[in-house]
């Protein structure tokens, strides 16, 4: 894991949290949407809060796709949930709102979950799939790492990206 990759994961977290908040704020202003009045959807999208929320969610999506190109889905997803923790901390320490004990428990659970995943390798699969699809990529990835099956897929992937960055 390089600093750049941690920044991508931070982008996933921050953009998801900020985008969701803006979207939720905007949807509260536009009111309920009925299946019989689909123009309500268009009105909702035209709301500036909803529109800004969608823009931030597009930034989230770009970071998310970037992260998924070098890490497992089950590794990246907990990073998105850290956004909830971020929002609760902002509510408590910047907006001085009351955060209930149940919410603190939620923060602890998510942080614990993220800690569990972050301790393991970022990539556990696909080495074989990708090797089959992109044999050249696999060959160049292997030449940088010791030729041993003990080396995890994550280490092979980071060896490949490390060489790319030099």
């Amino acid at each position: 894991m390089t600093l750049r990759k941690y920044l991508v994961l931070a982008g996933v977290t921050v953009f998801a949290a900020a985008g969701d908040s803006l979207l939720s704020h905007g949807m509260k202003q536009t009111g309920s949407i009925s299946i019989h009045h689909l123009q309500g959807v268009l009105l909702a999208i035209l709301n500036p809060w909803v529109a800004s929320g969608i823009l931030l969610l597009l930034a989230f999506f770009a970071s998310y796709m970037n992260a998924l190109s070098w890490a497992d889905l089950t590794y990246v997803l907990p990073a998105t949930s850290l956004g909830y923790v971020l929002l609760a901390l902002v509510a408590r320490f910047l907006l001085h709102e009351q955060v209930s004990p149940l919410r603190w428990l939620g923060i602890a659970l998510i942080s614990g979950g993220v800690g569990f995943v972050a301790g393991g390798p970022a990539l556990t699969s696909h080495a074989q799939d990708r090797d089959a699809k992109f044999p050249l990529l696999a060959k160049s990835a292997r030449s940088g790492a010791p030729d041993s099956e003990v080396v995890s897929a994550g280490e092979r992937a980071s060896a490949a990206s490390g060489r790319g960055e030099r």
Binding site: Y84, G106, L109, F116, F134, A157, G164
Partner: protein, 126 residues
């Protein structure tokens, strides 16, 4: 009846979110490590590989369906139920789907993480 609508909406959101996540994850694995690819071949190769990937478009479509289902569900049901239920069930659904369809090694560490995160999200988003 409104419960049926609410939970029906939640399940539709979860289903399409999971399908979208799995397809996008598969597409990005097929594209390859973006950081390495950017250094080696430049941005247009990355954009070209993404835009020529069918899984990417199917995934985006599924995510769009999930997004609009969420908008509808939020207007039908109570936000304090729909948002946390959809978010936390998506985490559990993704762990199962990633193991089955993406062949990720969802070991004990990742199962515990999925359950902890799902429970935490349910508490925080409620």
């Amino acid at each position: 009846m409104s419960h049926v609508y609410t939970w029906g909406g939640i399940l539709i959101v979860v289903f399409f979110s999971v399908v979208g996540d799995i397809l996008i994850a598969r597409a990005m694995k097929q594209v390859g490590d973006i950081h390495a690819l950017l250094q080696r071949s430049g941005i247009w190769t990355v954009v070209g590989r993404i835009l020529s990937n069918a899984n990417f478009f199917l995934g985006v479509t599924a995510m769009a369906v999930a997004f609009f289902s969420l908008l509808f569900s939020l207007s039908w049901g109570d936000v304090s139920l729909v948002a946390p239920a959809a978010a936390s069930l998506t985490f559990i659904g993704n762990a199962f789907a990633a193991k089955i369809f993406l062949h990720e090694k969802v070991d004990r560490r990742r199962w515990i993480a999925a359950v902890l995160v799902a429970a935490g999200v349910a508490l925080l988003a409620g």
